[in-house]
């Protein structure tokens, strides 16, 4: 009998212990399993892409929890921003967020935008007929926070796609009309 057959993945002691630590956790202890596997949302995002599971809610939930666990302030994938403290007293502004993968949900978008400022409301748009997400949505934020969100998040890599973030056009248009009236 020969050890370690050639047709199998041969684990080192460390790898075996790491897998065992995850396997022995209670099935409901997601945080414990993430801790045992190593919380790294950037690597996890790459893993989701490679597995082709960007629309799988279980993968996305783990990704979301990993982001929440990390002490750092990741935004999307591979983007980090400094802490931002801006006034939340200003009037709310709707921020358009587009180029979203199917995997995106309101909780995840809120988590990302909260790294930049105060989030008042998140709404992702679904197709009326099919019910499937259309890949864009709106985030309501105080005006200064919205400006910051556009500056920081536009183009940020989110699950392998560059986010498109801008102040919603209708807000911008009404703003322009208001300026014309004032003049």
């Amino acid at each position: 009998m020969t050890p370690n057959p050639e047709n199998s993945i041969a684990l080192s002691d460390e790898e075996r212990d790491s897998l065992r630590a995850i396997a022995e956790k209670d099935d409901q202890d997601i945080a414990g399993m993430i801790d045992a596997a190593g919380a790294d949302s950037t690597v996890f995002a790459n893993f989701i892409e490679e597995m082709g599971c960007t629309a799988d809610p279980d993968y996305i939930q783990i990704y979301s929890e990993m982001m929440a666990i990390e002490n750092a302030e990741p935004v999307g994938v591979g983007v980090r921003v400094e802490s931002v403290k801006l006034s939340s007293r200003a009037a709310p502004v709707r921020v358009y967020v587009g180029n979203l993968p199917f995997a995106a949900n309101e909780t995840l978008i809120r988590l990302i935008f909260e790294r930049v400022g105060q989030v008042l409301h998140v709404s992702l748009i679904n197709d009326r007929e099919t019910g499937r997400p259309r890949g864009f949505g709106f985030v309501s934020m105080p005006a200064p926070d919205a400006q910051q969100a556009v500056a920081v998040l536009n183009g940020a890599n989110f699950l392998g796609r560059p986010l498109k973030v801008q102040v919603a056009e209708e807000v911008a248009r009404s703003s322009r009309q208001g300026e014309l009236k004032n003049n």
Partner: protein, 267 residues
Amino acid sequence: MSEQLGPAKTGVPLPPGNRRTWRVSPPDLMSFISAENRKTALALFDFEPDELENGKLRVDLRAAIKPIEVRHKEAFALTEADYYIGCTSASIEIEFDSDLVESHSTGAAFKVAYKHSETRKRSSTTKIEPSVELSSAIGDVTVSAGSSSYEAGNESVFETSFAYEERDLAAVAAGKSVKWRFDPPSGDKAVRSFLFCNLHLFAICGAAQGRQNGAMSIKPSDISVFGPDRRSFAKKKSILLLFALYRAKRRIFRPRGITVRFEEVLA
């Protein structure tokens, strides 16, 4: 530089008995990938084209869907693995560019430990070459290395065998393509083990005049980690076990499946 690939279909009949050669890209057939990639793949296939005496083209697919065994480096070969990475469903598809699928393997219900062997004599001689795209300072070139040859008159043996748990095979043909899909049997019986099978499938397309090109794919789905008892872990635990292996650079080969394009080489 190698031969040029022919157009999708020229309409010019090839002389009978002509040796026909197809080039596959990327070269991800079972015959061409490395032993390391075979070890860490969940679903693989080879294909064997044959020009029939009536001039039609028959393509036989040999598919293998298997778990990846994960065990400690000092574990013995004949012991159960510590973990298995496997899939519980899979699909296989072949699509021809030009001609309609006229006949194909039909659906079936495979019971536990099903085994069937089929031998057929080949009508023509064909060759499959891997195609590798290389980029260099002087431009892009296509090279081929190694090949699989199938001689007229020789017999090919195709085996279908299933282990562990039953699955239903459904076949859907639509014009130029046929798709087979394995799923657990309908009803409330919970399938908890992974797919582990060899499978023979075939498709025959219309008049094999001119060059016959197309694409084939095999895609595992519901990839999970299973224990030594071949029962899957809870979904999120399974994901995190896979992630831990991914972080340790223990990657699955083409976890989203393998798609290859085959194009007949202009002689």
